[in-house]
Symmetry: C2
Subunit: 347 residues, 2 copies
């Protein structure tokens, strides 16, 4: 997934094997040693397959997006499924690329045809109120925060706890803690509770959860508030996680294969990084749900369960690298650097 930073003179030395085989010390080693029971198949209904025209060398370009599961960003993912089934994006293009920011696609900016393409039937309304959801919907069981990792079983356990000695620091300046919903990263704002002797805690302000902007996150472009976008125009992050967008725009998923096909596109030179000529656009051949593809064409992928023992160890190892290359353990990590491992079902 990542690479090391060996000088070229060392690249021919047999160091790669250590990275993979050192089960106890490297994130890759922990993932490789994870038990098969700790992996979860991604439902075909949650995979969006975007095929771009071949590149200049004639190589195919396929991008696979894992959609946020219910109840996160629900209206937008419903619309995205409707648009994929209507083949709505077919023939549209990637029309914008801004360095260390996003690549954006959909209707585009065609000076000869400024009218947006009409949406298919069945599009549901969206609301900025749904950028976050209440935790009582129950999507998370494990929290990473300033006090390390904690298992939570009920809202009453979400009250702040003391920091354990030597627990890694997962503090997040953008939230109280982070977690994952079926393999996709979210931030958490802890609610408030009133505790009386002998009584169950009473929630006075609900804990809230929202999907976050990391590298490869996919979001819904929109106009000014109260518009919240339909899902017709999407962007993928190609730089440092722009977390200030969290709670201000709908995040609908994450590119889990092929983000490099977007990241290496030339940056746009027009206003907002929009391409100035049609020739710069990258045409979209098709966007389909994997569940609508013939069985043999479906990507079949799984992610490491973020509530598993191996994922907990994986996060701890990321926060405290101690293999041959690392001399000083960071002592912590941020949500965008604790990326959920994804692999093919065949692997």
């Amino acid at each position: 997934m990542l690479g090391t930073l060996f000088a070229a003179s060392a690249l021919t030395a047999p160091l790669a094997a250590q990275e993979v085989e050192d089960v106890a010390l490297t994130p890759g080693g922990v993932v490789k040693a994870a038990d098969p029971s700790e992996w979860r198949d991604i439902p075909a209904e949650d995979l969006l397959v975007m095929t771009l025209t071949p590149d200049a060398a004639g190589k195919t370009r396929e991008v696979v997006i894992q959609l946020m599961p219910e109840p996160v960003s629900s209206a937008w993912t419903q619309n995205i499924r409707t648009m994929a089934r209507a083949h709505w994006w077919d023939g549209l293009s990637i029309y914008r690329s801004v360095d260390n920011w996003v690549v954006q696609w959909g209707n585009g900016e065609d000076p000869e045809n400024p009218e947006p393409k009409p949406l298919p039937g069945g599009i549901v309304p969206t609301s900025e109120d749904a950028y976050t959801i209440a935790w009582q919907d129950g999507p998370i069981r494990t929290l990473w925060g300033a006090r390390g990792r904690r298992e939570v079983e009920a809202s009453s356990q979400l009250a702040p706890a003391r920091k354990r000695d030597n627990s890694p620091d997962f503090s997040d300046p953008y939230s109280d803690a982070f977690s994952y919903v079926r393999g996709l990263p979210v931030a958490v704002e802890l609610g408030s509770y009133e505790v009386s002797d002998g009584k169950a805690p009473v929630m006075t302000r609900p804990t809230r959860v929202w999907p976050v902007h990391c590298y490869a996150s996919v979001g819904v472009a929109r106009d000014l508030s109260p518009d919240a976008g339909t899902g017709a125009e999407l962007y993928a992050v190609i730089g440092h996680g722009p977390r200030q967008l969290d709670r201000n725009i709908a995040v609908v998923g994450k590119v889990i294969e092929g983000i490099e096909h977007m990241a290496i596109l030339p940056r746009g030179t027009g206003e907002y990084g929009v391409y100035e000529t049609e020739a710069e656009h990258t045409p979209i051949v098709s966007v389909r749900l994997a569940s609508d593809l013939p069985e043999q064409e479906r990507p079949r992928l799984r992610y490491l369960d973020t509530d598993s023992a191996s994922f907990a160890k994986y996060a701890d190892v990321i926060a405290n690298r101690s293999d041959d290359f690392y001399k000083v353990a960071a002592g912590g990590a941020d949500v965008c650097n604790v990326r959920v491992p994804v692999k093919s079902v065949e692997d």
Copy 2:
């Protein structure tokens, strides 16, 4: 610098003007309103100008790197200046690109010529002990941390303070606080102090400072410890800040112009993302210190003083966006999203 995420239908609406002119509410507005006295010229000796061969369309590609100033990463930047003056990189190439990780250049991986190019004379030894420096050398005056922003005048003031109400959260899971040294981001580990009545505080453990890995940071590739690299092989970050590398490798500066020429290079398909064929390499025409270029060819750039009132306001506005596009203020920010504004002296 950044862009907005308006849907395409809004891109033709006159919204761009607000982004720039809303002085009080947007980072760009604050920067534009900064007093000329708040800008600092970057010395020509601190600018490394890297010229790549023209791209496929024949357009020139120039990358400008701002080198870390003394006393940070001192031995490596000294070597880099020596190599630039010896024209050592001329004719070498970019030989590696890994998505969401780095682009790397220098000696390369030439299967026909596996011997590294000999270094010029005058290369000084480097040591991993110098990945961090003691704060008493005095490079910083302002700290951003979990308790907001603080001015510091002496070591005794670095002890933890109470969080001010409503101060933005700049907490960093990788350090106690962050700051900047002449426009380049660093992390800070606060030292320990013994305080006795009526006596000056006594430092028992020094505060330490190190340069951090953000998007566009430039570091020194190395072999396994205790090797610390010479500076001959460099990489630039092209993804989410890989902060776990901090204190494990020397950071020598930041790309402040032209990072997109590196970020859009095709990813390498060989081991560690090294290009498998010579044709994939991007040749380096020359690497020069701006101070060694003819006066009229020098880039002349300045950065916003990070101890200035405008930079403090800029960081606060980033942490609490409240312009028309943003509905919910983040309440905090991480060091890699508080990027130091740089502009041409002519602007």
